[in-house]
Assembly symmetry: C2
Homo-oligomer: 342 residues x 2
């Protein structure tokens, strides 16, 4: 079937070792003459190096897996696109895998990815449960968390400053004169939801406002959840003047409900996208920096992989470091007033 290194060696009149040296990622210790000779032979045969065989020997597949809760999520995909691009520059290929928002699935996929020999894993956990991720790390595979944190795992992480984002969002609404503000959506098993709720509460506290229990409408992170929560909120005999949505999906669901009900609301939410300008209720957005997140996830995992390959093992026990990325608060009008066309 495919040509092997032996075929090339035979044609070039050298040993397989020499061919291997020439074809290695960094050629060295080979005469320019034999180098070109080998290269010519390889080309004329249409030789392609077999990465499976190489991996078996080198114990490195030059791949990094990125596990996300779902694919149809613009924020995650923006992170992925950037990370994949950057990984390539290091010679790595990114494997993008979905956990379908299930920790069980996540456990299976990560284990299988480990079996397949990925050099490292970057994961956005489906929930805060992270023992299975620690298990992967215990197999000697570098793992880092992105966007969300997880418990039971002593892993480095990169996440937005969610607490501050929600705090600023809420403060902005307070600044506009709204006092009765609701917090809508949020799966309490997901760290971002907890952090955002916490920032929300802090802003209210700072303003001397005691949050009404009826205005904390937790539950879910998906479009359907936002839709359902919104319904509940509006059925409240004394509805809020404004609300903070836990994330873009919930925000979308809320707006969908409002659209169908012909109602209006003032909403502050997370994440921009091409279509947030069209959301009628959207007043403020806390924009996360997906590109920066992808970028730093890449460098961090590459670092870990390199230090593992070079046999350097820091005493893993002094805790995990989480890097916080700043978020930017945007007024909705700024997105659409023509001063910022696209």
């Amino acid at each position: 079937m495919g040509k092997t290194i032996r075929d090339v060696a035979a044609l070039a009149g050298v040993s397989t070792a020499t061919v291997s040296r020439v074809l290695a990622p960094e050629t060295k210790g080979v005469t320019e003459e034999t180098r070109t000779k080998v290269l010519k032979a390889a080309k004329s045969l249409g030789y392609r190096t077999n990465f499976i065989a190489r991996s078996l020997k080198t114990r490195s597949t030059m791949t990094v897996a990125f596990i996300v809760p779902e694919l149809a999520n613009n924020f995650f995909m923006d992170v992925a696109e950037e990370m994949g691009e950057k990984l390539i520059t290091y010679g790595y290929t990114m494997l993008l895998v979905s956990s379908g928002n299930s920790t069980e699935v996540e456990k299976k996929r990560t284990a299988m990815l480990a079996d397949r020999g990925v050099d490292g894993m970057v994961v956005i956990p489906a929930s805060s449960r992270g023992d299975h991720l620690q298990a992967v790390a215990d197999r000697g595979i570098p793992v880092i968390l992105v966007d969300r944190l997880a418990e039971g795992a002593n892993l480095d992480a990169i996440a937005s400053d969610n607490e501050k984002g929600a705090f600023e969002l809420t403060r902005a609404l307070l600044g506009d004169g709204y006092r009765r503000i609701a917090f809508v959506g949020g799966d309490i098993t997901v760290s971002t939801a907890r952090e955002r709720l916490s920032g929300f509460a802090r802003a209210l506290a700072e303003a001397g406002i005691v949050p009404e229990p009826g205005l904390i409408c937790l539950g879910g992170m998906e479009v359907q959840d936002g839709y359902d929560r919104m319904k509940t909120v509006l059925e409240n005999p004394n509805p809020p003047e404004a609300m903070v949505a836990v994330n873009l999906m919930v925000h979308l669901g809320m707006e969908r409900y409002l659209l169908g009900a012909g109602a209006q609301a003032v909403i502050a939410g997370f994440d921009t996208s091409e279509y947030t300008p069209f959301l009628p209720g959207c007043r403020y957005i806390a924009a996360q920096n997906a590109v920066e997140m992808g970028r730093s996830a890449c460098t961090k995992i590459i670092d870990k992989i390199n230090q593992k390959k070079s046999g350097f093992f820091p005493r893993e026990k002094y805790g995990s470091r989480v890097t916080r990325l700043p978020v930017t608060i945007i007024r909705h009008e700024e997105e659409t007033n023509g001063t910022k066309p696209l």
Copy 2:
């Protein structure tokens, strides 16, 4: 480091061959007794089979690559999510890779994926150029096209009935009384763009309308392109009464421009998403069936892989078959009138 089959064999007191038999995807020719003995030994050692080694021997990695033009595209990701899910049920893992809308990148990535030994490839081509895909197929790797077709490649494909979709969309607008209809956006090197333009033209012709050259505003498939085209269209001294957008990205860009300009328009476009209900100009949508596309892409590539593995080679020369999936025309109101909440 990791335990090997030898460790298990030693502990279980059998040969490596026996262990291999037990651990193979389908165990057979092994006593139930030795089977459990081996399994117990494997478990107690925390043995994990090394897929790299297995692949080198079996010449199968049990992976299928899915190459898409971009990740941040809901339609593509919906297809991906379904396909990935279904592939798992066959024991395959999907590798999702972006070509960044570049045929050059696509060429590199597909070649590299082939080197990495994927068992098959499903690709949404970045453009109509497909020789590099044929090259991959010529290496003996099953390749199929999805959503878009490509030239220079004799590959099976699965795509929506774009011509008919655009035809119906245009007819719907005509039915509403609009006569001067524009076609906006469309990279002519992309098959879907050509097919949709063709359906558009057919509908006009059938209505006895000669399309004005100024109303065919081709160019690009991205948000920015839609934005720019819309600007051009509105600067026309005699602007159209309605328009057909080549795809959702362009549609979005058009609406963004309208929003900034404070203008209105009647638009028919492709693809639904959670946010199409919020697009003010949106009148009709031709909805593609992403789930069905992912599903059939999966079965088709699995078929090809299986027939390759079983050594069955049909005379590849009798052309490629393209399967057309029907699209559904939806009136915008139906999405938001409350009868169809979510």
